[in-house]
């Protein structure tokens, strides 16, 4: 990704977000400015026997408002409805863009249907409704449904690179447009909460029963979240030809694979550091030019230590926040949601807050945007994603 030949300018001409912070971009922006804590007790499955009992959740009422219950919409998985809603908004904002490809990140897709299938298998001999569950649990099916709901029929690439999936999807879409392989791509991620993954993080003791406090000296772990976000990326020529308004420019993408361990990052921080350096090289941006870092910042001991070391080493005293502090970690959608937040930060010139922050960790040089948003000059924003399997991805966006 660090090739110098940079090709086309890539503009963000469409943006759609649904997260626990709100059902659309405006609502998400308001919550970011308020520093709203949207982590709440889990309602959609039993958490009586887990340590962690909270998550950032999307209220069903938002989805029901967009897709009223009925024979057709009942068929769609929650994840499909989230994706459809974000895709609808992105298409509306882009106003006439014609994406040729969809690149999407997720980690579980419609897994909750798989869980329901399994529980019914244990409980009953009847197979009524099984076909619907099997046909809709795969990660690609909710995306096909979201496309259908938006009357789009384009090829899709579904990436499952754990928690960096959303950033990888946007990064790959960016590279395709930059190198002229496509002129318009819709890319992002979606992730509905599910019991299996929630319990998985709980079993690893990565999830906390307390508040999520990224980069705090006394951080105790992550809480999960959910949501979907899509960006429409378009070549400058394509955007200009139809008079589209650019919300931001995407300039850099870098990836690395940390082979240290399946679930633990190399403590040296080499994984995220390589991804960040490659993204900077890819965009021809000096580390000192970065005005804001939207960190992966899961608030686990290991993640924040390694990412913090990498940010400190590369970017020094840059303002950093983890917006996961407000909505939890949306896994495969996280990178996409956080890229969308970077677009808003660039457009509206502010630094999103890192809430629940009490005590700085002296190990790092950077400055945490503590608890409240801040108006600031933001020309370049960098977004990090770090996933299981050692997948690291960094995106760099620029104000237009």
């Amino acid at each position: 990704m660090q090739d110098i030949a940079r090709g086309n300018r890539v503009l963000v001409t469409g943006l759609g977000v649904i997260s626990p912070l709100g059902p659309d971009t405006d609502a998400n922006l308001r919550s970011l400015l308020e520093g709203k804590d949207c982590v709440a007790p889990i309602e959609i499955f039993d958490v009586s026997r887990t340590r962690c009992k909270t998550a950032g959740q999307i209220p069903d009422v938002w989805l029901e408002k967009a897709f009223p219950p009925g024979r057709v919409s009942d068929r769609f998985h929650r994840g499909a409805r989230m994706a459809a809603l974000a895709l609808r908004e992105a298409s509306k904002v882009a106003n006439g863009a014609k994406p040729e490809l969809m690149v999407v990140g997720t980690t579980v897709g419609g897994m909750s249907y798989g869980e329901l299938f399994y529980r019914r298998l244990l409980a009953t001999k009847s197979r009524k409704g099984f076909a619907r569950l099997v046909g809709n649990y795969t990660p690609q099916k909710p995306i096909q449904d979201a496309l259908e709901l938006n009357r789009l029929r384009i090829p899709t690439q579904i990436l499952t690179n754990a928690c960096s999936s959303g950033s990888n999807a946007i990064g790959h879409g960016f590279e395709l447009v930059r190198h002229g392989l496509r002129s318009c791509v819709v890319c992002g991620g979606y992730e509905p909460l599910c019991e299996l993954v929630f319990v998985g993080f709980d079993s690893l003791q990565a999830a906390t029963p307390e508040k999520i406090r990224p980069f705090d000296r006394n951080r105790t772990g992550l809480v999960l979240g959910e949501g979907a976000a899509f960006l429409i990326l378009e070549s400058e020529r394509s955007a200009n030809s139809r008079g589209a308004v650019a919300l931001a420019e995407m300039v850099g993408y870098g990836v690395s694979t940390d082979t240290y361990h399946l679930t633990q990052p190399n403590p040296s921080g080499i994984g995220p550091k390589l991804a960040m350096q490659r993204a900077l090289d890819s965009g021809g941006v000096a580390a000192g030019a970065i005005d804001y870092v939207n960190a992966h910042g899961t608030a686990t001991i290991f993640n924040d230590a390694t990412e913090g070391a990498a940010i400190s080493e590369l970017c020094g005293k840059v303002p950093v926040s983890s917006t996961k502090s407000m909505m939890g970690h949306a896994l495969g959608a996280a990178g996409a949601i956080e890229a969308a937040f970077c677009v808003l930060a660039l457009r509206d010139q502010f630094l999103p807050p890192n809430i629940n922050f009490v005590q700085p960790d002296p190990a790092w040089k950077f400055e945490v945007v503590a608890n409240q948003f801040r108006a600031a000059r933001v020309n370049y924003a960098l977004s990090n994603s770090i996933g299981f399997g050692g997948t690291n991805a960094t995106l760099i966006l620029k104000q237009t």
Binding site: V47, Q140, T257
Partner: protein
């Protein structure tokens, strides 16, 4: 810009390497069927697992000591592709090679065991040792670690056509990044009672020990295995055409999607064989209709009756078969072929050919095709 397949590797129920699999296919062998017990309900299924003795080499790797079968299979197929390309499996490939995985069900054994603990004993009893291996990109992570790849590792998920999408993804990476020498594209799949039962409830799997293709569509039998292709900038097997695939939103759209996808490629005469995805489901009818209409004289080979439906590995196994067929100028006979497609190849035979078409109709909304050309005979 065209790219080439430099090495092909596989591990299947028929052999621990690609070459042994190919010889067994030409010999008319089919993978032994193993009966799955009544795991969770009073229903039996057959499947084609890879014998444990084939996995020994991978299982001895420290990194893989706790990993699931799909990771072991992927590591073996990846090594085999390197060996086929005449390359040494280096542990320090850095960022000059990318790893691209094609996954369908993922680590279903570990996923079932982990969720079973949650559902039957409670969330507090779920094992933290199982969870990491349930993540879709676990197999890619392990293989990247074995190869010393510190650059790009991508896992694509999809239906049984995902392998072709992964090859297309690899060609995109190679097109955009001149510094990248190669992409190792791997598809891998493991079998489990749960998978068979789920697909049976969807009328896609049968509980019999055989299935017919281009005949009665009673459902498929699942197979286990992995296939890998090393895609680079030069080589004797050129990828003449591949794509990200085309979605269909309903069964009625499948045929038009297949026509659109298969007929974007040059018409009859431009390739001398088709390696199809026929698996005893609706896919056979769709492919059969399009082949009969557009390519009635091109012989069709369907490897799935011999190997089982290996989902995430399925399309890459088809590509592997097409590559071997072009290299060896032979086409195996399709086992248990029904009478609905006249052009189906029924006996192994010599077939002078320079181009092959690989077609996939996925069960879950994707159609795709790839054309492979023999640039020079290495055999």
């Amino acid at each position: 810009m065209n790219f080439c397949i430099q090495g092909i590797g596989a591990v299947t129920p028929l052999g621990p390497t690609g070459l042994e699999t190919w010889l067994a296919l030409c010999d008319g062998q089919h993978a032994p069927r193993t009966r799955f017990g009544k795991a969770l309900a009073d229903r039996n299924y057959f499947a084609c697992p890879v014998p444990g003795k084939f996995l020994g080499g991978a299982a001895r790797q420290p990194r893989l000591r706790r990993s699931g079968t799909i990771s072991l299979l992927a590591a073996l197929a990846g090594s085999d592709a390197f060996a086929d390309a005449g390359l040494k499996l280096d542990s320090g490939l850095g960022d000059r090679i990318a790893v691209v995985f094609a996954i369908c069900s993922g680590g279903i054994n570990y996923t079932r065991r982990f969720y079973h603990e949650i559902a039957t004993q409670g969330a507090n009893c779920a094992s933290p040792l199982l969870f990491p291996e349930t993540v879709y990109n676990a197999a890619a992570s392990h293989l990247a670690a074995l190869l010393g790849v510190d650059g790009q590792s991508y896992t694509l998920v999809g239906d049984s056509s995902v392998g072709l999408a992964a090859i297309h993804f690899a060609t995109e990476l190679l097109t955009m990044q001149p510094r990248l020498d190669r992409c190792l594209v791997v598809g891998t799949e493991e079998v489990d009672w749960l998978l068979a039962d789920a697909f049976a409830s969807w009328r896609m799997a049968t509980n019999r020990d055989q299935f017919e293709v281009y005949g009665r569509t009673n459902g498929t039998i699942f197979g286990e295995g992995a296939a890998a292709v090393l895609v680079g900038r030069t080589g004797s097997l050129m990828i003449a055409k591949c794509s990200a695939g085309l979605p269909f939103h309903s069964l009625s759209e499948t045929e038009s999607a297949a026509k659109e996808m298969f007929c974007h490629l040059p018409r009859e005469g431009a390739f001398e064989m088709i390696v199809s995805s026929a698996n005893g489901t609706f896919a056979d009818e769709v492919e059969g209709k399009v082949f009969s209409e557009f390519y009635p004289a091109v012989p069709v080979y369907a490897p799935k009756p011999a190997l089982g439906e290996a989902l995430g590995a399925g399309a890459l196994l088809q590509v592997a078969v097409a590559g071997w067929a072009l290299r060896h100028q032979r086409l195996p006979g399709t086992l248990r072929a029904g009478c609905k497609l006249l052009s189906v190849n029924r006996e192994t035979r010599s077939l002078p050919s320079s181009q092959a078409l690989v077609t996939c109709v996925g069960f879950n909304h994707q159609v795709n095709a790839l054309k492979l050309c023999l640039v020079q005979s290495a055999y």
